[in-house]
């Protein structure tokens, strides 16, 4: 285990950012800290980096107690959401910074910097200032700068948050490939569940200063520990007392079993390759079902058709808790 966090708590005035958090982050993997804004995930990352001090608890990095170590002694690479580029230095000098601080020989620095610039595809921009780069390029430079010192762990705080959707997606794939290449223990913070599911080996879901669940993307998606994780990781709808993913509902025009719930189609919406069917059950519950286009055509549904719903056997469900304010049902459903 590479990073051990034990009983870490942190308050900002009256606000509890982290409440007795204990988690182990595995070596050599790409781990996502996922959760809504203000949930404490960035605070945890900054505590690992030493940029913030925990009020209680301990942090251990690769077997070394880092709780009281200042950031410069932790050998941690940190990448900020807004790049934190050294504005008065060229790209090359930005990347070389950590090595110069470590007083490495000049030719060794030059060699390592060239190698890293190549890795992040910025060779031809070596002599530019950060202001002359695009957001994506700046973030790649920041990554190269953090990697230059051969960090024990690489920490990224919402690294793609400030970039536009297309660049974000490119950089996401690129980060995954880069991680496979350099194999450094990497932890990144994100509030985007799609990003976490796509990139990470391991996801730690953090909400309200507490850890909700730790697991692989498949674990979390297929076996959510509670309704918060269920809601946060993907679209959900409610049938009876169960939270279920809309694509895990079966729909038919004739009843197929004793537990079927009958209802009427109230609306049909086409969203890209999916068809979304709004069904109002006999008890007045609004349920959402998503179908592929072919399934939809085979059923021949129309507004007003009476249908029967059931949960596909074996699909993940959780008991429905109260709907949290920050993840309204509609938003969670349409974001898929």
């Amino acid at each position: 285990m590479s990073i051990e966090i034990a009983g870490v708590g942190k308050r900002f005035g009256d606000f509890v950012a982290l409440d007795n958090v204990t988690v182990s982050i595995p070596s050599g993997r790409l781990t996502a800290l996922l959760g809504p804004s203000g949930g404490g995930k960035s605070t945890l990352l900054r505590i690992i980096a030493g940029l913030e001090r925990a009020d209680t608890g301990r942090v251990e990095i690769e077997g070394i107690d880092a709780t009281d170590l200042p950031p410069q002694k932790r050998n941690v690479g940190f990448v900020f959401q807004h790049y934190a580029a050294f504005k008065h230095m060229s790209v090359r000098r930005n990347v070389a910074f950590g090595l110069q601080i470590r007083k490495r020989p000049k030719d060794e620095i030059a060699e390592r910097v060239d190698e890293l610039l190549k890795l992040v595809h910025l060779q031809q921009f070596a002599d530019r200032l950060p202001a002359q780069l695009s957001g994506g390029q700046r973030q790649r430079m920041a990554l190269a700068r953090a990697l230059a010192i051969k960090p024990t762990v690489l920490l990224l705080d919402e690294p793609f948050g400030a970039l536009d959707a297309k660049v974000r997606k490119e950089l996401r794939d690129w980060l995954r490939r880069l991680h496979d290449e350099v194999e450094v223990t990497t932890v990144f913070v994100t509030h985007d569940q799609e990003e976490a599911l796509e990139v990470a080996d391991e996801i730690v879901v953090i909400n309200d200063g507490r850890i909700e669940q730790i697991g692989s993307p498949d674990d979390l998606y297929d076996r959510p520990a509670n309704d918060f994780v269920m809601r946060f990781l993907g679209p959900v709808t409610q049938l009876g007392d169960h939270l279920v993913r809309p694509h895990d509902l079966q729909i038919s025009t004739t009843p197929a079993g004793p537990d079927d719930v009958a209802g009427q189609v109230s609306r049909i919406t086409r969203i890209g390759f999916e068809i979304r069917i709004d069904v109002t059950t006999a008890t007045g519950q609004a349920v959402i079902v998503t179908l592929t286009r072919n399934e939809f055509l085979a059923l021949g549904l129309d507004v007003g058709t009476t249908v029967h719903l059931r949960i596909t056997p074996g699909s993940p469900t959780t008991p429905a808790g109260p709907v949290p304010a920050e993840v309204p049902l509609e938003v969670a459903t349409s974001s898929h």
Binding site: G50, L51, Q72, F86, F97, G98, A146, I149
Partner: protein, 288 residues
């Protein structure tokens, strides 16, 4: 002096700026006229007249003061005191600015308010208060220092203190907004890359607040060179010993030596204007 140093707004890209430029109607020209007239009669014309009066008799007046050993001493003294004060104010100003922006501590608001006192209190009051504390005979602290052989009042030390006091906020008020704008992330990045506090300051913080410091230094220099009230009280105004250039101007003016007064005033203004021009020429085109 300070009025001429108002920083130009950050240079926006021409294309982006153009769309927002309003059409120039008669009101725009009227406002321009008012501003130009105002500045002309308040600043430009009086300063110009000092220059004109200096050269009324060609270079005679300037030559006269530059060959008078007492005045040359006063000019030397003024420059010396200004340079020492600026160095002190720069070191303390940058330190206090970092303290104010980067750290949270009890009494911060009070400290912040206290730093504006030198700007709001009349320099004469500053002089008097320094005499009350450090005065050799009756001062609160002065006799003790004097018994150790340290004379503050009526000596250069007191003059430096008075000058430091009146120019104290100038570096801080220039550096604080720059520090706030630059933010803490670059420093944190440097720390995570292994830099200690001093390395972070020298390699990251200092280059990013460089222009704020330079403006602060220029303002302080101008202010320190021209300080009159506080210095007059603590210096004792002894010719050839503790009389500075601004005191010479007053003395000459009161003694109906108008030519000498104008010539000394011109030299004082020249240094200040020159430093402002040098800074605006050196300043890089792209903002900071």
């Amino acid at each position: 002096m300070a009025d001429t140093l108002v920083k130009p707004a950050p240079v926006k890209k021409a294309s982006a700026g153009k769309a927002w430029t309003r059409k120039r109607g008669p009101v725009t020209y009227l406002i321009r006229l008012v501003v130009v007239t105002y500045l002309f009669f308040l600043v430009a014309w009086p300063v110009y007249l000092v220059g004109q009066n200096t050269f009324k008799k060609g270079f005679d007046d300037l030559r006269a003061i530059l060959t008078d050993p007492d005045i040359v001493h006063a000019l030397h003294l003024s420059v010396e005191i200004a340079i020492i004060s600026v160095i002190i104010n720069t070191v303390f100003g940058v330190t206090i600015s970092i303290l104010l922006v980067r750290y949270r501590f009890p009494g911060k608001r009070f400290l912040n308010a206290l730093l504006d006192v030198p700007l709001s209190v009349s320099p004469v009051v500053v002089g008097l208060s320094l005499v009350l504390v450090y005065g050799g005979r009756n001062g609160w602290f002065g006799p003790t220092l004097e018994s150790w052989g340290l004379q503050i009042i009526f000596a250069e030390a007191g003059m430096v203190m008075a000058t430091v006091f009146v120019a104290l906020p100038l570096v801080i008020r220039e550096v604080v907004p720059v520090l706030e704008e630059v933010g803490e992330e670059q420093e944190q990045a440097a720390r995570s890359l292994g830099a200690n506090a001093w390395q972070t300051f020298r390699r990251i913080t200092l280059p990013s607040i460089k222009w704020g410091i330079i403006y602060g230094v220029v303002l302080s220099l101008a202010r320190s060179l021209g300080e009159f009230g506080a210095v007059k009280i603590v210096s004792g105004n002894v010719l050839g010993l503790t009389r500075t250039a601004p005191l010479v101007v007053e003395e000459k003016y009161l003694n109906f030596d108008k030519g000498g007064a104008y010539a000394t005033a011109f030299l004082l203004a020249l240094v200040a204007v020159a430093s402002i021009i040098v800074v605006s020429v050196l300043r890089p085109k792209e903002d900071r």
